[in-house]
Assembly symmetry: C2
């Protein structure tokens, strides 16, 4: 196994080097996509632009839920913002979702060169680790915020690299080593923290402090619930980019 970690989306990814790109935007796009698919959404289509999301909503055969944020706040006229707790089963089951967020989308675009694109969050950490084939070349792509590194994304990469290295003999790059060292310096190599411990660290990150300032502290606690949504969102379609749910037994939920 080869593991690389980009602490920000770097446009040098290519399909030869990367079997699976795992996109990380812990606060909150990754957590929203994971939650909604775990709660029965049919698919999540991601777009960079708000207008693109609106246009897609008109084109799809079944009217989708329009979802997303700008400046962390729900977009005018949209059905849902970027708080994962709002993506309850009774709201999203069998629905198509069109999602546009500030930073997650750019990371998904950078990842698009890889053969497969998955979405990683603390909510599906262990199933991600169990689902990676032992000989894969994988790339963790941290979304960051407005072109700057955010700690919560790097922390997830560190948790995943730690778990993967326990299962497999892996060659890791320096980005992965730094992420792993960050994770282990707080939580050690062996155990997973409880959600309260993890939320304390997420609160300190750039993304965390920003959400607290805007009144979204409950979202951080949600995003820290490790393994609460054990499914893998997998890109099923490139244009428009659409994610569906991969179950723990690798059966694709279609």
């Amino acid at each position: 196994m080869h593991i690389s970690t980009s602490l920000l989306p770097q446009p040098n990814l290519n399909a030869t080097d990367t079997d699976i790109a795992i996109v990380i935007d812990i606060l909150r796009a990754s957590s929203v996509i994971t939650t909604s698919l775990a709660n029965g959404a049919n698919q999540v289509i991601t777009t960079s632009q708000v207008d693109e999301a609106r246009a897609l909503a008109c084109e799809l055969p079944q009217k989708p839920l329009l979802c997303g944020e700008r400046g962390c706040v729900v977009i005018e006229g949209f059905d849902l913002g970027n708080s994962p707790a709002d993506y309850r089963a009774e709201v999203v089951t069998r629905q198509d979702l069109v999602l546009t967020t500030t930073n997650g989308t750019q990371a998904i675009e950078v990842a698009s060169a890889a053969k497969e694109v998955w979405i990683g969050s603390f909510l599906n950490l262990s199933v991600i680790v169990r689902s990676v084939p032992c000989n894969a070349r994988i790339a963790f792509i941290c979304a960051g915020t407005d072109g700057s590194i955010t700690m919560e994304d790097v922390l997830f990469a560190g948790a995943a690299v730690t778990q993967l290295e326990k299962r497999y003999s892996a060659q890791v790059d320096d980005g992965s080593r730094i992420a792993k060292q960050l994770w282990q310096s707080w939580f050690g190599p062996d155990r997973l923290p409880n959600p309260k411990e993890l939320a304390e660290k997420l609160n300190e990150s750039r993304g965390g402090r920003n959400l607290i300032r805007l009144g979204y502290e409950a979202d951080i606690q949600w995003c820290a619930k490790i393994d609460s949504a054990p499914i893998v969102p997998v890109r099923m379609q490139k244009s428009p980019t659409s994610f569906r749910c991969k179950m723990p037994d690798n059966r694709l939920e279609m």
Copy 2:
């Protein structure tokens, strides 16, 4: 004080946000520039391209030493490679140097938007920390290798952020927090490691393993000699970019 750390050169730096950009290419361009100016070189002019270096050599009034590497190896027809030990006083005193290296130059270019550009290495760690004005907005720019993060550059940023936070009340970004956590997870918050301990960590980094493979292990030990060349290389001229020596008492050596 505001401190940001880019783990790779990011082109979003601007003069409004940044008083001093401190460029870090521990293995080995930063260490070469620091060593040569500490050993009495008149100035170090940096260029991106080998041809540019050769052209400059013809234009300068005094014939300079041509210095640098491609693929870690001395460039054909050049006087010196990228091993700091070769930049002895008897070789460089009162000489102009023209230096071109693979990764350091790109970082210097990104840094060029800042009001001041300094060069940081373990050889001048403490004097860098002492020389930063208490209210400055500073940006550490890690050079990395071929677009990928290298741990040794991030480690230096972490050491510097740790020392700066002991002296000043500083606002730091998540890149700086990650670098600091990496440093402190190995060496703690209070002490500086001895060169042997530090070299052990540099040996494990991407840049370190690459140099060992090519037979340059002695260079790593040199680059780990903390505070052995207590001067600050400061950009004196933008085009071509030229660095001269700033002494610990802030007197510029001209």
